[in-house]
Symmetry: none
Subunit: 423 residues, 2 copies
């Protein structure tokens, strides 16, 4: 049992408007155990709306349509619906009363465009009984058809108040769907897929969705079952199984981000943070300070872009820069130690690297990044070779830094990794 959504409107085909109605409807249907299998977007042409409706009624168990119900010439959905159903348009008495009452209150006279909003396909049942909002239900067609306005708030109201309850009544046998997003850092999509081989076979009610969103991956676990309790139990077991296979790479669930997770860990642990940034150019500090309440644990970031700034503020010896280059393990270590001298914060993290596109050498190609972290638990320094353009290198380096902060707090083996260890 699957539904189809048809969204109508030229503005959706010209790219002026993002189809957020579709996401809203899909999400709320899913939460109630109804799945969409097709979404079709058409413009305001009557023939395209008609074709889409005929096709939707053939292949789906129910059809939702949004848009094209307004007063202007380009609102053609009701005409298209009448044609697709082979039924005439009839003046709907309730709609007429509401519209005339509304106009009267505003001392306006009836216009042909507004009158047209009272002409509904035969058998249509108006959804809103009070406000002059377009929207109706045709329950006696081969498949239940819902026509909703394109205005997001009006659509959302009718979806919640009418469409979902009506669907639940029409399809009591539907499946219960529960889902969860796990947020994964530090593994490629293909590596996740490999580690989770066989999981869907183990849980036949489970389907996995992979959503790479640089620099992380989002993994969606969706469970279909007969009851909420059964679905929740399977979801919980499957999530635990995923976490078992992916380990600390799973850093959060649902809307978590690395910066909110790191923020919560810093807050709980009582640690405070100071940064010394070069190639990330302030991005780590920006992410950290996006979190409400970050002033409780974030002290400063020294965005020392020029050599002069590194030498002056972080006491990096000039001869270290000239001997090893500013992108080097030695300079990263000097930065983090100079930072610790200046700041009272418990954790000091420094990053130096080459984001490009200019300046690469065979020894230090573009994408070379050194991270150094120093706190009472230990010291870690590591060289990374990142790929992509300037922006991707900055972003990847910043998120690796956030992941280091997370692991420095929660992972006891963190300070045993890396190239150098000398706390």
């Amino acid at each position: 049992m699957h539904g189809e959504l048809i969204t109508v409107g030229n503005e959706l085909l010209s790219g002026l408007v993002v189809n957020s109605n579709a996401a809203h409807i899909a999400h709320h249907l899913g939460l109630s155990g109804f799945l969409l299998r097709w979404v079709t977007v058409v413009g305001d042409r009557e023939e395209d709306i008609t074709t889409a409706l005929v096709r939707g009624m053939e292949r789906a168990s129910f059809v939702l349509v949004t848009g094209g119900l307004g007063p202007t010439d380009d609102d053609r959905t009701s005409e298209a619906a009448a044609r697709a159903l082979g039924r005439p348009l009839r003046r709907d008495a309730l709609s007429w009363d509401i519209l005339t009452g509304h106009l009267k209150k505003r001392k306006m006279s009836m216009k042909p465009g507004i009158a047209k909003m009272a002409d509904l396909p035969e058998g249509a049942q108006r959804i809103d009984h009070i406000l002059p909002r377009a929207g109706y239900y045709i329950g006696d067609a081969a498949k239940p058809l819902f026509f909703l306005p394109g205005v997001p708030e009006e659509m959302a109201d009718m979806l919640r108040e009418f469409v979902l309850p009506t669907l639940k009544e029409r399809f009591p046998e539907r499946m219960t769907v529960r889902s969860r997003i796990l947020r994964v850092f530090g593994l490629m999509e293909s590596e996740i897929g490999q580690r989770l081989t066989g999981l869907e076979a183990e849980y036949p009610e489970l389907s996995l969705g992979y959503l790479p969103r640089f620099p992380e991956n989002r993994l969606t676990l969706t469970v279909h079952a007969s009851t909420v309790d059964v679905a929740d139990a399977i979801l919980e077991k499957a999530s635990q199984s995923v976490v078992g296979k992916l380990g600390l790479h799973v850093y959060g669930v649902q809307d978590d981000t690395l910066e909110t997770v790191v923020g919560a860990l810093l807050q709980e642990s009582g640690y405070t943070l100071a940064l010394a940034e070069s190639c990330t150019g302030g991005l780590i500090a920006h992410l950290i300070t996006n979190v409400s309440g970050s002033s409780a644990y974030f002290d400063r970031s020294m965005v020392t872009y020029s050599d002069a700034a590194k030498i002056h503020h972080l006491f990096v010896p000039p001869e270290l820069v000239s001997r090893h280059g500013v992108v080097s393990a030695q300079v990263a270590e000097a930065m983090v130690r100079g930072l610790q001298r200046e700041s009272e914060a418990n954790i000091a993290l420094a990053v130096t690297g080459l984001a490009g596109p200019e300046g690469g050498t065979p020894q230090t190609p573009i994408g070379t990044v050194f991270l150094a972290l120093l706190c009472d638990k230990g010291f870690r320094l590591e060289r990374f070779q990142l790929s992509g353009d300037r922006q991707r290198i900055k972003i990847a380096a910043a998120y690796i830094a956030l992941d280091w902060l997370r692991r420095a707090i929660i992972d006891d083996s963190f300070f045993n990794g890396g190239q150098h260890r000398n706390a």
Copy 2:
């Protein structure tokens, strides 16, 4: 002549993700004179992708498909394409080389999922010749077919670099449409609309599109005409007229951003820049350093989030903080003067403010931001009252700072504005 877009992915049907790819593609096609007539969204079922492709090839002049090209089991687009075209999948030598090269660099071995990404429908021509990004073109089918990744940045790159040029070559007869995006900062959409009243009446071939993209507005001028020369001439005249009415609020065209414009101005003028950031938390530095070559003019940003950092690095007198509060004109001025003492840079800019959500008072409500700028041309200090949540306040403050840098360089009257003037 109309195109069809088919977007593939369960995440689009479950409402987890808003279909922003569809809006992006529609918008950029439109700017090049191509119109979409249908957008179809299907999940990862092979039969639904196949059906959508067959239908798209019947009714559209060209078909774009996004998504379902990755390495996991639920990526079925290539199989569906092969079936819809009645062609076998064949191993593509170039794809194979790129994928194996990429794996080799990472010291990884080939996996079946990744190998599958090299199996393309017969006749497919890989789009990216360097990076391991999925995406191909089938130019010898009944209708030209483009298969693009679902990852937004990869899709956008291929659309710009390959799809649009290829469509222009295949369909030279399209209506000549020329368009230009003007980038506007510091005016609301309604203010722009008001200033441009009558412009469309003056140029009947012109249509204006308003695209608010916080914190700026993008104004699209689109001209339909019989020849390129005519269209270009009208576009040029209309653009000049808009610039005349909006003045320095128009900061750039097409893909310009405030940070690239500021970067170019700093580079040309020989100015160098130092920042002292509090509430923006490193965001100004991040934007400045997103621009390639910024190391030529960007010295440092002192992200002094804690009072201790402001006092230590910027010599802000502690009694100033206790008397006036850290979000005050006095502290902003002390920050910028302390910064100038420390840095050799020609322009010093400081920002202190309250991004919330905690800490507002009647005297200093959330959204209060002070900016101070000091250079050889003069000094300017101003208080702003910004609205929105923490993130919006950070972003608005950072972009106002960038706009100040632009105006400090190009606008001779800049240092006559603001609350205080004492260079």
